[in-house]
Symmetry: C2
Subunit: 461 residues, 2 copies
């Protein structure tokens, strides 16, 4: 324990210097989507490599087809400790619209706010400020002794453009990058006072269906009443996929969907999530999912079915008396728990085929199928990290879900067989991707302290 | 009867001269859609005026905003006879693609075919050949005595472009054009041997619906499961509008829908319509309408519901995890009998509103509502015309329906309070609007004889 206390004191004492370093990184406009900033991306990668080398990491910039990766490796002071892979990204979104920024986006500054001081600038929250919390934790630990775990660091430069080079890079460097667990720092706290670990990400099955009937568009006066209408066939399929209670009717769909453990359910209730406000913000008032489920359950813990697009027949202005030869829709299913994406895709196709009336054919186009990611609630690293976070923030860390997907976590699981702890200190109101992006000074400061605690706790097991 | 026999003999004797006149009319390229042929349209109108004047009609060319009308009037030889309004159109479709014509489109000619001689040329069937059958009948009656009815003739020059000037012209000339009954010559025989009178035209209610939910497009990962999806709402409305037997579930929808009189039902069965072939031609095999109805009933005598177009969400290539803020569809209902279009539109809107879940709104855009047109099966002029046609063709005239609409008939009913007898001698294989359009010589010859009989029969009552 002695080293941790000294390291935490070091983080406190060196906060101004740490801020200066973050400001220097923010000053490099590493916008990944714009080729004009490719050199800036290279420069940011080199800056990070130099920082890591300064901390005694074996670090290098690794070229890819796009923006480079940075990989750094450092051993713990002793053997038989866990090996962690830390992930963050140094690329940022373009700062446009520039005229809405109160100060230049790449000149980071401290600003006073009612809730405390904030670091303002592009990338302060997404994700330069977040990844530097980990670097500063490593620095303090190094300066007060040695790292408690073996640490590999992976900084990516294409997260904002969909990580095109990442899968190949993981495949090519499996042995080097594989660790006991990944630490992914690109997520939010639950709120200003409550740290959070994201342990559940929903999976996704995407299926496009084209229903075909007559061999050409027909006149609805001449054929209407006698010829089958593929829009009706599609509508019936969509309507029949859900029952009156909002449950999805695909056979076997709920296989692998478990109820939340009572402890987690209780914890979620304690979060006092305001589902009404969540819906009100987008003009809605009534949760539209399964009866008897809370909004949080609906978006984190329950599978869904949605049509993301539909088209058929005449869609211009006015009317046209046409019976279209075909109609199509894009179906998506969000998965949770142990739902099997392949089985669900197959069950969906069988469901559609069983719904086809005479003279209709269905064509299917798969747009991807991936299972949900769920860190077991009884995982030991999760317990360690949770305690460490709770100690730092004086409040139990929330174990939360995410309705969407975070591709890097799926890639770590699929390509490296590695679970991820998603821990971040950003806040909902950080204005990421928008003008005047900010990161709370407390997120930066206590974030670094949190990682020092987490690495120590993981080593102690 | 004596005059009719003489008149029929006259038509037979003068067939060659009648053909020459038709060829002269066909030679005028009165293409209404192309402004380059405006002068040709004017010329065709003047040619027709001169013809009518030559027969003793008081005839004139009437300018409109577009192509001119021709109106001709002639009195019968005695008082207290019916007054008929005959309608045909002198404008034609463009002849493109020209290279598919075996001979120049406006140089009409007689050609031999297995089924008899044919008149080939643009407009021979649609509608110059048809309207000249009536003119030739009037000529023969005039030359052998006098017209049995008071006759007003209306030739239009914009039928192929949707009759834009017609409604205003009818409004402005109500008193002059109003007759006891309209004779509309722009339809087909049932088959080569069977004359037909079209007595039923379906009506049409067109309603577009936009379903709106959230105040913006949402991310389906973040909101999926909790936020209502307007595509699903629309699909449920479409699916619920029809029951398992193919009947439309709108309250009151079938009010005013009568079963066919047994005599008509029997006559339709005798037509031996090949519903299977009708569907097979467009790649279908099973009638998709109400259970227990024949294909002919489905397209002529039963009301329908169809969606003519639907759109919502992402419809490009690939996938997008979007929950759209809105989705829309174009609904149409074909009406029969005494169904009230206004009531059905209102019932539909109420149905949609009753189907809206919380947080959804519906916007409606009306694209028109018109009732079905049905000549009473016991109408006296219908009986006269039917007998006359049967006498000429040696086969009972079929009383048929049409699934689509013929705007002129609706306009006569609405603006002039006048029923129409739709009688034409075209055949399904006449290639109207296509290269090598033809009209059977027998259609032209016996068509003229048919009108002489019909006018005589109408006068005799």
């Amino acid at each position: 324990m002695a080293q941790l206390d000294t390291a935490l004191a070091k983080i406190d004492a060196n906060l101004d210097a740490a801020l200066k370093r973050l400001f220097a990184l923010v000053a490099i406009p590493s916008i990944s989507t714009d080729p004009a900033y490719a050199e800036a991306c290279q420069k940011a990668a080199e800056w990070l490599r130099d920082e890591l080398q300064g901390l005694g990491f074996e670090a290098s910039v690794r070229p890819t087809q796009g923006r480079p990766m940075v990989v750094g490796k450092a051993k713990a002071g002793r053997e038989d400790v866990p090996h962690v892979l830390f992930y963050g990204h140094y690329d940022v979104q373009p700062p446009d619209p520039l005229d809405l920024w109160q100060t230049p986006p790449f000149a980071a500054r401290l600003a006073a706010a009612a809730t405390g001081r904030q670091i303002v600038g592009r990338g302060t929250s997404d994700d330069k400020g977040q990844l530097m919390t980990f670097v500063e934790a490593c620095r303090a630990l190094k300066e007060t002794g040695s790292l408690p775990c073996d640490v590999t660091i992976l900084f990516e430069g294409e997260e904002e453009t969909g990580s095109p080079s990442l899968p190949a890079f993981l495949q090519a460097n499996k042995a080097e990058l594989k660790a006991d667990i990944a630490l992914v720092c690109d997520t939010n706290m639950w709120d200003r006072a409550t740290p959070a670990i994201t342990t559940m990400l929903r999976g996704l099955v995407l299926e496009e269906v084209v229903i075909k009937a007559a061999n050409r568009d027909l006149h609805s006066g001449m054929f209407g009443g006698a010829a089958v209408n593929p829009i009706h066939v599609l509508a019936k399929i969509i309507a029949d996929l859900r029952d009156a209670d909002g449950r999805i009717t695909l056979p076997g769909f709920y296989d692998g969907v478990a109820e939340l453990p009572p402890e987690i359910a209780a914890q979620w209730r304690d979060l006092k999530f305001d589902g009404s406000q969540f819906l009100k913000d987008v003009g809605l008032s009534v949760p539209a999912g399964e009866k008897g489920r809370s909004v949080l359950e609906m978006i984190w813990a329950r599978p869904t079915f949605d049509v993301n697009g539909i088209i058929g027949g005449y869609t211009g202005k006015g009317s046209k008396t046409v019976l279209p030869a075909e109609a199509s829709a894009k179906f998506s299913f969000r998965l949770v728990g142990a739902q099997d994406p392949e089985k669900i895709a197959a069950s969906f196709r069988a469901f559609v085929k069983a719904h086809l009336p005479a003279d209709c054919q269905a064509e299917f186009i798969a747009h991807g199928a991936s299972g949900a990611l769920q860190l077991p609630f009884d995982s030991a690293p999760l317990a360690c990290a949770r305690t460490a976070l709770s100690d730092e923030w004086g409040k139990d860390a929330a174990l939360i879900g995410s309705g969407g997907s975070i591709p890097i976590v799926g890639a770590f699981k699929r390509d490296l067989g590695m679970e991820s702890l998603m821990i971040g200190f950003a806040l909902e109101d950080d204005r990421i991707h928008s003008p005047n992006e900010k990161y709370e000074l407390s997120s930066f400061h206590k974030g670094a302290r949190s990682w020092a605690r987490i690495l120590t706790a993981l080593a102690e097991g």
